[in-house]
Amino acid sequence: MLITRREEFSASHACLNPALGPEENRALYGEDSNPNGHGHNYVVEVSIEGDPDPVSGMVFDLKRLKALIRREVIEPFDHRFLNREVAPFDRVVPTTENIAREIWRRLEPELAAANARLHRVRLYETEDLYVDCFA
C-alpha cells in the first residue's frame, strides 16, 4: 500500500550550467536559463510504501511525515532563490529532476531509520510537468 503526503513550496530558479556560455544554456534550457531566475509553485508528493501496522492501522504516521517534509524541504526551499540560497543548487543545476533527487536525498535517511520505505518523490513544477524520482 502507498501513502502519500502533498506539500507545496514557492521558489525561484534558473537552469544554468556555469560551465556553458549563455548561448549554449539558452539552447539547452530555453527560457528556464534566464540568469535572474523565475518562479514556480512547486508541489511535492512523497509516497511511502508498506503494510498498515496491525495496531495503529497506519503505514506511517502522516504527522511525522509532514513534519519531516516541512523541516527538510519546505522550510529551506520556500520563498528562496534555489541557485543562490539552497545547497547544492549553487553547483547542481536546479532542474525539476535534480530538485526531486535532492528531496529524495533529504528525506530518505530519516525514513529508512524509521523503517519506512520511501517509494517515490513526485515533484510538480507546474500542473503540466512533473517528475517521478525513485532513488
Binding site: C15, N17, L28, Y29, G30, V92, V93, P94, T95, T96, E97, N98, A100, R101, E127, D128, L129, Y130, V131, D132, C133, F134, A135
Partner: protein, 137 residues
C-alpha cells in the same frame, strides 16, 4: 530511473459509431456518443518518458518532447473532427482507447527522430476525455 510527465491539451470532436453494427445497435452501445453530428471534448494528453538523468540534470529535453508531440499529435488533433479529419479513424472508432492507441503509434513511429539516443524511452501515455474518464497504455 526517473520519469518525467508532460501534460498537453487539445479540443476535438468525435462520434462513436461502429460500421459493423446497425443504427439501433450503435445507439444502444454508445448512447449519446453516437449522435450523428458528433460532439467534442477538451482532451488532456499525458506523455510520460523514462530514463536516467543526464549530465544536464534532465531526463528529456522538454522542448524536443513538445516539438514531437506538437508535430505528430497536437497539430493534427487540435480543433479537428477526429472521424473526418484523421485518416486513422476512417476505419477505427475514436473511443478514448483508440485515440490513445493512435497517439501511441504516432509517437513511437517518430520517437527515434526526436530522441536518437537510447534514452529517454516513451514510458506511458494517458488520454483524459473528461476529468472523469481516462485511459492509459
Amino acid at each position: 530511473m526517473t520519469r518525467l510527465t508532460r501534460r498537453y491539451r487539445f479540443s476535438a470532436s468525435h462520434r462513436l459509431h461502429a460500421r459493423e453494427l446497425s443504427e439501433a445497435e450503435n445507439l444502444a452501445l454508445y448512447g449519446k456518443c453516437n449522435n450523428p453530428h458528433g460532439h467534442g471534448h477538451n482532451y488532456v494528453l499525458e506523455v510520460r518518458v523514462a530514463g536516467p538523468v543526464d549530465e544536464h540534470g534532465r531526463v528529456a529535453d522538454r522542448a524536443a518532447l513538445d516539438r514531437l508531440v506538437e508535430g505528430c499529435v497536437l497539430g493534427d488533433f487540435r480543433h479537428r473532427n477526429l472521424n473526418l479529419d484523421l485518416p486513422e479513424f476512417t476505419s477505427l472508432v475514436p473511443t478514448s482507447e483508440n485515440v490513445a492507441l493512435v497517439i501511441g503509434r504516432r509517437l513511437a513511429a517518430n520517437w527515434r527522430q526526436a530522441f536518437p539516443a537510447p534514452w529517454p524511452a516513451l514510458d506511458k501515455i494517458r488520454v483524459y476525455e473528461t476529468k472523469r474518464n481516462v485511459v492509459e497504455q
